[in-house]
Amino acid sequence: MSSIAKKKGFGSTLWDYLTTVDHKKIAVMYLAAGGLFFVIGGIEAMLIRIQLAKPDNDFVSAGLFNEIITMHGTTMIFLAAMPILFGFMNAVMPLQIGARDVAFPFLNSLGFWLFLFGGIFLNLSWFMGGAPDAGWTSYASLSLASPGHGIDFYALGLQIAGAGTYIGGINFLVTIINMRAPGMTYMRMPLFTWTTFVASALILFAFPPLTVGIFFLILDRMFGANFFDHTMGGNTIIWEHLFWIFGHPEVYILILPAFGIFSEIFALFARKRLFGYSSMVFATVLIGFLGFMVWAHHMFTVGLGPTANAIFAVATMAIAVPTGMKIFNWLLTIWGGSIKVTTPMLYALAFIPSFVAGGVTGIMQAAAPLDYQLHDSYFIVAHFHYVIVGGVVLAILAAVHLYWPLMFNQMLSEKLGKWTFWFFFIGFHLTFFIQHFLGLMGMPRRVFTFGANQGWDLFNLISSIGAAFMAVGVVILVVNIIITVVKNVPVGNDPWEDGRTLEWAIPQPVPFYNFKQTPLVRGLDTFWIEKMEGNKEGMTYAEPLSDIHMPNGSIIPIVMTIGLFIGAFGALYNGEKDWAIPVLVLGLAITFGAMAVRSLKDDHGFHIHKEDLMNDEGGK
């Protein structure tokens, strides 16, 4: 097989993507699917803010509102933020460590398809009798009482998508442990790779409790078990524990990669080495560790008693210390640097005050007695949007601009990028800052409407206007992307001119085997070192040019996923339709059959020959 790129028809391109195991193509698919879900979740957010723009509004009904908030939260966390971050991890991390692909390319593809079909399954609920309506936390007494199939879609959809995330996490861990180029020691890894590593470790330990909790929920709702039914000896608080033992690390799974992205941006656009690199690594690991010790701060009002509350309050406060270290290290990175305010840098600069504001309100809520007032009010809504939008979403938007040239060899318009930024940034603060006060003024969260003259009318209207600004920002981004893709002007490698890490050294468009010769890493910011020493090529090589072993594409991941997708409908209608159990069995048979084919049929991959490589100047 030759490595030379050919012009392909639509059908073969489609087949290429369905079967690909290339981390760069999988990254594109994560980004596209995650972006689509981000827009869907955003539309749901707009519906929420329209409904709450004025008191006693009847734009949506009470029950529908609960479906919208549930799907907004679930979609944004599981189907937008995490997959988009996975997209960037896939696109960037292997290049940063000098690898030709991830450790398990087949699993990488499987992880993506599981996420996508889990997300599609969850969203089919809109068309099949109603979406889940017990909030993204799906607390057990309400989730068991909820009529219809909404919660069943939630449980089965998240189980499928969650399996994909879990597989992805393991894959990244093994990749970073095993696939680093010669010289790329742990303490020379770029911060984005480090945060990917720690976030993946969090996935490894945080997702099993969620999986167990959701299996209990599936068994309770569809197969007659009673794990959460207190009248039968079950206990609803168990769900809350399982959910938050997952749920709290989950926010660090989201924010740590965001920290990684910003660390790259600050160093790049301040033209300066990241200040306190080793303490940044230490802080990342410490945050990951402490993230598992604090879940009960989501449950201060559950009645766990003062001792549990006091311990979890103090433990939660402790997280502020490593997080503060990071903030000051970023500030000292730009201090004394040469700051160029590009669109990604604009997001990074906006992130600092936004995230600090979100962080300090987190500390306020760590004070348990104060949290009794703030919990489940609009204050908490403001807080977690400040950290998730002000942290994760700003990082995602920054990364879209930063890594677009790396992924597509095109540059998004800086002008439109800045327009997006200002609309989004102003809208974000307009929407959420005022919600702190709504909470303090007694407004509970998750209310489908509110009575007039309780002192909340004006602030809710302001909040809704802010949401419209954010929407305009996102629309401009979409326009920007469309224009850029249509224009298709190639930009080459190191488009930001001050690239420091290995991914910017690769010729553009990135060849499908990434590195013709595995690079030799001679220090932190290896590309920067080479450039400073006048190495035009940007890389020193660790090996002579030789044949490269590559994996074959495979359709099996998508077949395995479709099996689970079909089986989920069987589980969903169990006890209601005669065909339920046969369909469940059929679905599982497809999945296990596909697994058997994969196990029994040897696939040795293929080799790119040295001669082909020598003629190849890069190309897809």
Binding site: T301, G303, M317, G442, F448
Partner: protein, 372 residues
């Protein structure tokens, strides 16, 4: 608020358009000042010791956090102003600094100290607000010295039982001022959360266990805009979660004792022909679920109506007049989706209530009072 805004506007006009900044400043100020919310609902206007403790913790933590924000913003702004590429020059390669141990120690130790300052009152109040030992105190005669209320949260209403006093009410909690009031909290169907923002933080009503805490009220609620504090359900519990409001009436101890006595001895006599008609309808259609005597224990299928006429709201959130009452009775599902009150057809021989029947019911229910 309106006057400030108008004054601000006049002022700005007088000094000419260049002073528009002053106007926007005043507008921002009015928004800020209105940020305290309503006296009967806001956590920023605490009405008792528990709420005040928590409010003080809010002030302390806000002060510490403001300090942190100020430090960050100062460094941030200076860095942004001084080190822009335009300023330092296009081709300058900054010194590649590795880090600084001294700085690392400073920004590790100072935050730890700040957190210790916050952690001490946090732990203290956590234990203080969970201390319900005084709940079982008795006087020389063996009577409980403090009022205890058993709260049962139901879809979508609140039942308040006073186990030591032998009375029960719903939707409007009545408590004495200037003493600790203890609560046993439980849910009857799905999880809810009991929250009176002015009095103090919330506590969940779980389905499988009883939670306990206490609240205090300094003043009688009579001076408030509507004579009551607002209470809310703070845990998503279904479609009408947003409408699961209750009210709190606080009375001085003597008035409270009087109220308890009249609750114990409620004997409603329908007043007038219309109300008597209403009572008859009530006794055939409604009484299976709704009690009209204040004496009793918890466990009502529907809210106890002994003091319905004294209340501040119909169904917890609609204005307290015959108009709303008739609307509510004739179609409870459309006003509070998902609630368990039967539609008229199922309790009135398969027919909607006629206008006359509704008038009669409303007249009867509005007459149910223990305070007259």
């Amino acid at each position: 608020m309106k006057t400030t805004m108008k004054e601000g506007f006049d002022l700005a006009m007088m000094r000419g358009l260049k002073k528009w900044r002053l106007f926007s400043l005043l507008a921002a100020l009015t928004i800020f000042l209105s940020g305290c919310g309503e006296e009967y609902l806001s956590t920023l206007t605490p009405a008792g010791q528990v709420g005040r403790d928590q409010f003080n913790l809010l002030l302390l933590s806000s002060a510490i956090m403001a300090l942190v924000i100020i430090v960050v913003v100062i460094i941030y702004v200076i860095a942004l102003v001084k080190f822009r590429r335009k300023k330092v020059g296009e081709d300058v390669i900054p010194k590649q600094v590795e880090g600084s141990h001294t700085l690392e120690i400073i920004w590790t130790v100072i935050p730890i100290l700040l957190l210790i300052i916050l952690a001490i009152p946090t732990v203290y109040y956590t234990y203080k607000h969970a201390d319900v030992a005084a709940m079982d105190q008795v006087d020389a005669d063996g009577n409980k010295t403090n009022v205890t209320v058993n709260v049962t949260a139901k879809l979508y209403w609140w039942e308040f039982e006073y186990p030591d006093l032998g009375i029960v009410t719903a939707q409007e909690l009545v408590v004495p001022t200037d003493e600790k009031v203890f609560f046993n909290l439980k849910a009857a169907d799905v999880k809810h959360s009991f929250w009176i923002p002015t009095a103090g933080g919330k506590m969940d009503t779980n389905v499988e266990n009883v939670n306990q805490f206490y609240l205090e009220f300094d003043d009688t609620s009579a001076g408030l805009e509507q004579g009551v504090f607002y209470g809310k359900c703070a845990e998503l519990c279904g479609p009408s979660h947003a409408l699961m409001d209750f009210k709190v009436k606080t009375l001085e101890r003597e008035d409270f004792n009087t109220w308890v006595e009249s609750m114990k001895t409620t004997e409603h006599v329908a007043d007038g022909e219309l109300a008597t008609q209403g009572e008859e309808i009530f006794n055939t259609s409604c009484i299976a679920c709704h009690a009209t005597s204040g004496a009793g224990t918890a466990g009502g299928v529907g809210p106890n109506l002994a003091s319905f006429g004294d209340r501040n709201r119909v169904a917890g959130f609609m204005s307290h007049d015959e108009e709303s009452l008739k609307k509510w009775i004739s179609d409870p599902q459309s006003y509070k989706p998902g609630n368990l009150m039967p539609q008229p057809k199922t309790i009135n021989n398969g027919k909607e209530f006629s206008e006359e029947q509704l008038d009669a019911l409303a007249a009867y229910l509005m007459g149910l009072s223990v305070e007259k």
